[in-house]
Symmetry: C2
Subunit: 305 residues, 2 copies
């Protein structure tokens, strides 16, 4: 069955792996977030797309959940000696992808074409589409100022309280080729256990994408990125709080209720299932901590059932 996953961040990549492993080759399409994209050292970096690529092709650093396993940092160390910025960690193997992408973008290739070619070269049967080929950038409003996403997340370690999120390039950004089709034609649409504000929303903010998912609400399953009031990874709980949402799996469910008819709670949150009825969301309760391969399999099976 054709399945489309809307995915950002590490949770998105892990969900992509779960579905990639569960489905026959070629049946999964992943629509990836490009709001996190940045220019660093003059290179065009697409962290969320890369995390999916690295995860699906076995390259991912299993400790960090981003970057390439057993990478070296010789370029970075030397670049720092040349006065280049030191806060965004880039391994040598990882940098190859950024160098190649930057060259190809400057030569006029679309991000979607480059991404598809990399996936093919690395033998990845899952189709990975950037949400848009247009420039889209996530900005984080804090108490004191607005920061580019990576500046807020990586450079300042997500320490500043978030008061809002803005997507530069919206509403002009158009869906990349195949994005709307993948949503319209899938038997199942999955919203990954990603941060809804900075990982799912930038994808949904691309022209026509939110409406396309809403139109498929009955076939859309969202997976909670919060377990027992704690984030699996990342700054989501603080953002739920500071932006006035309930800081648990139900806070995310309310936010996603217009999009998804089914919501996956972690088994630890089974007692929250009752709260989904008023959101007109069906509840699924299964273990969701995907670092464990058996859990990953079980979650994929539940989502696809």
């Amino acid at each position: 069955m054709p399945v489309t996953l809307i995915a950002g961040g590490v949770g998105g990549a892990r969900m992509a792996l779960a579905l990639h492993e569960a489905l026959p080759p070629g049946e999964l399409t992943v629509i990836g977030n490009v709001g996190d994209d940045c220019e660093h050292w003059g290179l065009s970096i697409s962290p969320d797309l890369d995390t999916v690529l690295y995860t699906l092709t076995g390259r991912i650093d299993p400790i960090n959940g981003w970057g390439v396993a057993e990478d070296t940092h010789n370029l970075m160390e030397t670049a720092i000696s040349l006065g280049e910025e030191d806060w965004f960690i880039l391994g040598d193997k990882d940098l190859a992808l950024h160098v190649a992408r930057t060259r190809r973008l400057r030569a006029g290739e679309a991000l979607s074409a480059i991404t598809a070619d990399v996936a093919t070269r690395w033998g990845c049967a899952t189709k990975l589409l950037p949400a848009t080929n247009d420039r889209q950038r996530t900005w984080i409003a804090t108490d004191t100022e607005e920061l580019p996403f990576q500046e807020w997340l990586v450079h300042r370690r997500a320490a500043d309280t978030v008061t809002g999120v803005r997507f530069e390039g919206v509403p002009e950004a158009q869906p990349a080729p195949g994005v709307l089709e993948a949503i319209a034609s899938a038997d199942r649409i999955v919203l990954a256990p990603s941060n809804p504000f900075v990982s799912l929303d930038p994808i949904l903010a691309v022209d026509g994408v939110r409406a396309a998912v809403c139109a498929r609400r009955a076939d859309t399953v969202a997976v909670s990125p919060v377990i027992a009031g704690k984030a699996i990874k990342g700054p989501i709980v603080g953002m739920l709080e500071s932006m006035g949402h309930r800081a648990d799996a139900i806070g995310v469910a309310r936010y996603l209720a217009p999009l998804a008819g089914t919501y996956v709670l972690d088994a630890q949150d089974a007692d929250l299932a009752a709260d989904l009825a008023e959101l007109q969301m069906a509840a699924l309760c299964v273990p969701t901590l995907m670092a464990d391969p058996a859990v990953r399999q079980g979650l994929a099976a539940a989502v696809l059932a």
Copy 2:
């Protein structure tokens, strides 16, 4: 005494090191060749400037004479898996300089400013000036076609017979700040044991540089890049032959006679000294194989005497 070296290639870098070691800090200015510069993987690479920088700061790979010692090639290996070109070897530490330079050039900095900053950051007291900040590219005419320099030298391993050399960007290219002043004000000007056609000529072809050196002929010393009819390194002997020159140290001396009043022959070529008289060049005969530190010292002493 202020000394200015005109230098390209590995021979230029080794002569730079000899003079750098022999002179008090700050007294040496090296004018480097940028005709070899290229764009590879979308990065701006200045091989000759970098070889001087690496050599003077102890980073040079002593085996190849170019690149960084004990470098890794993780980026390159991954880039090749992404379909990027595989014939120009770039180590990870070396790439840091190319990434930083490319970023800074695109941000509008002059190559001379970037080069000076790198030298300062790496504690190099010798001043290194690119011949020009303007775009200059060496093209090699062969029997069958004209090739960009690195394509001819590296990709085709200098196997094609050279029938001519052309410098794209000339005569428009203007000397970088300080170049003409360094030639006019030095007590001694040295032409490194570099290939005269592809390492010295591109520097001399920059507007006003050849005339500036000719005006200082009495204070200019050229060092032969040919010993006993063999190149110390590189394709010079074949080029001398195919372009109709005598294929030995005197062939080079004739070519450089308008520029240099003194010519250093290797001690092995002492019998050729007589041939310099008709060129109105004074002869110096000393060992010139600079891989040996004692020889390097002796050569520097002879050139500066």
